[in-house]
């Protein structure tokens, strides 16, 4: 479980986030949704500690993550996996080396054990015959999957995904969403996903938090999204002219 307590963030005199109180549960896919520029990435980076919050506390289970010394932060980080918006795969390393890197860095496994684990993780994300390829030789969707494989290679307790399906076609997006959802349940991971994709929201939104202008505008589950009367949420959900027409036909 991860908890954000009264998180606020400003860059200079620009207030990006205010009064964010959220609980992200284990074994569930927790979604942070909102328009582009709403502050999703900033919030995620505060949760993983890449940005310090201007005020407030981030709790990892019962540990005050914000107040931890650098060395202790690293101990927790060994249990964290993250899929970056731009994947952040190491472009001078092969896919095998990318996925193996956390194991090389932190474990005493033999080469054979590492290779087995790499193969298992790549299989888990449905990738074949990519071991010796470089990230630039893969499509966007495949790169995201490698990113997921690398994020789960050390069996994390916490998984962060920043826009896992931005730039992907709807079908591939769905595959990636389901993959993250399954992995989360299988391993009881606390998963936090940033997205503005309504399909993800409806498919895998166990817990959803809507950010709007740096504030928490709505919280709930995917079952409640369509029935909620919250205006900001309605605005976000029915943003496209197509969906507005569908809604008007219904009412």
């Amino acid at each position: 479980m991860i908890r954000a307590e009264n998180i606020a963030k400003s860059f200079g005199d620009q207030h990006i986030l205010e009064d964010i109180n959220l609980t992200f549960e284990a074994g569930k896919t927790n979604l942070i949704i909102g328009r582009s520029g709403a502050g999703k990435t900033v919030l995620l980076k505060i949760l993983v500690g890449l940005y310090p919050p201007t005020s407030g506390i981030v709790w990892y289970d019962n540990v005050n993550f914000t107040a931890l010394a650098k060395k202790k932060v690293r101990d927790i980080r060994m249990q964290v996996g993250m899929l970056f918006q731009g994947t952040a795969l190491f472009d001078s390393m092969t896919i095998e080396e990318n996925v193996r890197f956390p194991m090389d860095m932190f474990t005493n496994k033999t080469a054979k054990e590492k290779l087995d684990r790499v193969n298992y993780c790549l299989e888990r994300v449905s990738l074949k015959d990519v071991l010796k390829k470089y990230p630039s030789q893969l499509s966007g969707g495949m790169q995201k999957r490698v990113g997921i494989a690398r994020a789960i290679v050390l069996q994390p307790k916490y998984l962060f995904c920043d826009e896992p399906n931005s730039g992907l076609d709807p079908k591939t997006s769905l595959v990636i969403d389901e993959l993250i959802h399954d992995i989360t349940i299988e391993n009881n991971i606390t998963t936090i996903i940033n997205t503005h994709d309504m399909n993800s929201v409806m498919e895998i939104g166990d817990n959803i938090a809507l950010l709007h202008n740096g504030h928490l505008a709505w919280e709930g589950s995917n079952d409640e999204v369509l029935t909620s009367k919250n205006e900001v949420l309605q605005d976000f959900v029915f943003a496209s002219p197509f969906l507005q027409k569908v809604r008007n036909l219904h009412t």
Binding site: D75, R77, D104, F106
Partner: protein, 233 residues
């Protein structure tokens, strides 16, 4: 199932990275160092002969002067100024690129101590390899002087070798290695710093790379002066 972690980070990864850096710096710079020091020695032989010409100073003095100027000043300083341009800009661009492409953030989130993992191997490699390159530069420079001057008749081989073997002070060789180590440390740490804290995009990366070279050069020259004052007084 939790994984069994050994000590936080594997020394083998640091070792492998240090080896890669040594190879990059050493093998990668060998040709340019040889090229530059050959000409350095050649020019010195010609110009020192010209300056001493017609005076009452014996000609073997040219060898003696070439050797000491090379060892005390030119081999460490010129080599490191060149290496700052070649190796320093490369280090800054490599680390800066990793910063901009979020590779450093990705490593941080895995729990890697990135400032140590990315910087330390480079500094250690520089401290080990730069003195070797400076030794090569010194030897090649002295040979360069021979090649330039003996066939053209500026002085005879015997005179030059007599000069090379006169008044050798091991203290001067010590000064050369002190300079090499200090300059290596300076160029690696300034360049890594410039790369590690880069912001923005490709223009800023270019600027960081340039700043790495310029600031390393200035720092090397200042250190050169300070070492000269400290070790020769």
């Amino acid at each position: 199932m939790r994984l069994v972690f050994s000590r936080p980070e594997k020394m083998s990864m640091y070792w492998r990275e240090t080896m890669r850096q040594m190879n990059d710096i050493g093998i990668g710079s060998l040709i340019i160092v040889i090229l530059i020091s050959t000409f350095m020695g050649a020019v010195m032989a010609v110009q020192i002969s010209y300056q001493l010409g017609g005076q009452l100073i014996p000609r073997y003095y040219v060898g003696y002067l070439v050797r000491d100027i090379t060892i005390i000043e030119l081999a460490p300083t010129i080599t490191c100024l060149v290496l700052a341009g070649k190796v320093g800009s490369n280090m800054a661009a490599e680390i800066g690129g990793m910063r901009q492409k979020e590779h450093i953030d990705a490593m941080e989130i895995m729990g890697v101590n990135t400032s140590a993992f990315l910087v330390m191997p480079k500094i250690i490699a520089a401290i080990c390899v730069v003195p070797l390159l400076v030794s090569v530069a010194a030897i090649v420079s002295i040979l360069g002087a021979y090649i330039a001057a003996v066939p053209t008749g500026l002085f005879s081989g015997a005179e030059y070798i007599q000069g090379i073997r006169s008044y050798l002070e091991t203290w001067n060789i010590f000064i050369m290695y002190v300079k090499a180590v200090v300059f290596g440390l300076i160029l690696a740490s300034i360049s890594c710093y410039q790369g590690y804290f880069v912001k923005g995009g490709s223009i800023e990366l270019g600027k960081a790379s340039t700043a790495a070279v310029v600031m390393s050069n200035i720092a090397i020259l200042i250190a050169d002066y300070l070492i000269a004052v400290l070790l020769t007084s």
